[in-house]
């Protein structure tokens, strides 16, 4: 059932999209850190800002990590491209 791998440019696009998600997520994290520093400078309520950052940043990072995990996992789980399958299957 080996299927032909997709064209190179599509694979490149896929890798680029995963990278773009990381850029997005790291951008959001950087933004939240920027706001944290801003709130420190403006003597805002520190607990609110720190609380939000502690919750928000890991959520975004988890989202991106799950996507990356799926992408890498799907690539490694393929049978095509002449790669040896790591776990031989039945049938």
């Amino acid at each position: 059932m080996a299927r032909q791998a997709e064209p190179k440019w599509i694979f490149a696009l896929q890798v680029a999209s995963v990278c773009a998600i990381w850029v997005f997520v790291l951008g959001i994290s950087a933004w939240i850190v920027h706001l944290l520093r801003l709130s420190h400078r403006l003597h805002d309520v520190p607990s609110a800002s720190v609380g939000i950052s502690i919750v928000a940043i890991p959520v975004f990072l988890t989202g991106a990590s799950v996507l990356t995990y799926v992408f890498v996992g799907l690539q490694r789980g393929r049978q095509a491209a002449g790669k040896p399958i790591l776990e031989p299957e039945e049938g």
């Binding site: 805002d44 988890t62 989202g63 995990y69």
Partner: protein
């Protein structure tokens, strides 16, 4: 499920298979799609043209005024974000609780979330006096403002729910790719090299389990934080500790109603009667009934507390709603959110598909009225002896409301054009694996055999 236990999956099906009718709207899209989407685009375009007046002349073209500084835009913001809880939250809870009847429902629920969340999140921008400065939120945002809590919470929810929609869709995209559906490169790109190997299945399942656990607290946080916009001020009628859970309950309530409306409409349009059966509506309408009772309980607690306290400024807001200018909206809310759904859904005789549709529509209208009843009366009754405000929305606000609804439908039309509305592989998996799995699980619920019962062999598990 372990990798070895999974039999070779027929994820790349032949030209015709049992559920290939689910792909028909994509493969054979025709005039219907073009006509509907053009009509909806027309509505949307009209909305934007009329909205241009607001950009040009300022917020004066709306019906907003000095005590009532927030109106339809904020009401619709809260309303649409509430609807968005349909999706991801319900689908995640159903997946988490291994409710097998979820299979034809989850996809639609997740689409609602993503589409409506985008619409809802845009509403505060419509409401800005200076939309050109909206980016100030990013450069000069203050995390101590509840509006910033919203920005972070909604963007986290949008990301999580988009990922949660996409990842379980990968095998379906691969089916479309393998059938050579146009645009082929698009499906190849999105399929991420899915071939349906056991290892890929394991990766997908693990990712979905992480996401469904992640998404639930985010969804709860979103509506809690939206309620905080109001609850964090000192205004009568808003400054209430119950607001967080009250909003979450209302959001799930309106979400289930919207989900059932969408299901009933799409069932008719795409002939999905084989998949969306009476039993699905029956279970969901029980959920809706429970949420209706819960909503009534929260509303009752909220208003009784205000009434019994008898604080003058609270009482002004209270009577403005109960017997003042907002009485029609308030009592309509009670009727549509409580009386109609409870009466229809409690009896099996009225719990038919048309009955459920009426109940759901009633709840969606009622929850919109609830948001209106929360936002406007508190603003209209200032503490100081100012003239009480009355708010009559302007044309642009009505048009943008219609535009929001049109965008919602358009989102579904476009989604249905390119992706299956019911998860093909999950239906297939249910057929192939879940029957056995569920039987096994059910047996697991039964009490263990007596350890020393005579004549009974001791089971291997102990």
């Amino acid at each position: 499920m372990t990798e070895e236990a999974r039999p070779e999956s027929p994820d790349i099906p032949a030209a015709e298979f049992e559920d290939s009718d689910l792909l028909r709207p994509i493969v054979e899209s025709g005039v219907g799609f073009r006509v509907t989407s053009s009509l909806l685009l027309l509505v949307l375009l009209t909305g934007w043209v009329i909205f241009g007046r607001q950009l040009l002349y300022g917020l004066g073209v709306t019906g907003l005024n000095q005590p009532v500084a927030w109106g339809f835009y904020i009401v619709n913001f809260v309303f649409f974000i509430g609807i968005s809880h349909a999706g991801t939250l319900i689908s995640a809870i159903l997946r988490l609780s291994q409710a097998e009847w979820r299979r034809p429902i989850t996809r639609m629920a997740e689409v609602i979330t993503v589409v409506v969340l985008a619409i809802g999140a845009f509403h505060p921008v419509l409401d800005l006096g200076r939309p050109d400065r909206a980016l100030n939120i990013f450069t000069a945002g203050r995390l101590q403002s509840p509006l910033l809590w919203d920005v972070s919470s909604i963007s986290a929810y949008f990301m999580a729910s988009t990922v949660y929609l996409y990842i379980p869709m990968i095998p379906d995209i691969a089916i479309l790719r393998d059938r050579g559906v146009w645009p082929h490169w698009f499906y190849t790109f999105l399929a991420w090299g899915w071939e349906g190997t056991p290892r890929q299945h394991a990766v997908l399942e693990r990712a979905v389990s992480i996401l469904m656990v992640l998404v639930i607290p985010i969804a709860v946080s979103v509506h809690t934080v939206i309620s905080y916009i109001f609850a964090m001020t000192l205004q009568p009628g808003w400054h209430s500790t119950i607001f967080g859970p009250y909003f979450v309950v209302g959001a799930i309530f309106s979400g289930i109603a919207a989900l059932m409306m969408v299901m009933i409409v799409l069932r008719r349009v795409f002939h999905l009667e084989r998949y969306l059966k009476q039993v699905h509506f029956d279970y969901l309408s029980r959920l809706l009934l429970i949420m209706s009772l819960l909503w009534f309980y929260f509303t009752f607690s909220e208003y009784l507390t205000a009434f019994f306290g008898n604080e003058p400024s609270e009482m002004r807001v209270f009577f403005y709603k109960v017997s003042g200018p907002y009485a029609p909206f308030f009592w309509a809310m009670v009727v549509t959110n409580f009386l109609i759904p409870v009466l229809i859904l409690s009896f099996r005789r009225t719990r038919t598909i048309p009955g459920i549709f009426i109940a759901s529509l009633s709840v969606v209208i009622g929850m919109w009225l609830e948001r209106l009843n929360i936002v406007v009366p508190s603003l209209a009754n200032p503490r100081l002896p100012l003239p009480t405000g009355y708010y009559i929305p302007g044309l642009v606000e009505w048009v943008m409301f219609a535009g929001g609804i049109a965008t919602f439908i358009l989102g579904f039309v476009i989604f249905a054009r390119f992706f299956p509305l019911i998860s093909v592989w999950e239906i297939e998996e249910g057929r192939r694996l879940s029957v056995a799995e569920t039987t096994e699980r059910l047996e697991g619920y039964l009490p263990d055999p007596l350890p020393s019962a005579p004549g009974q062999p001791v089971s291997e598990g102990g």
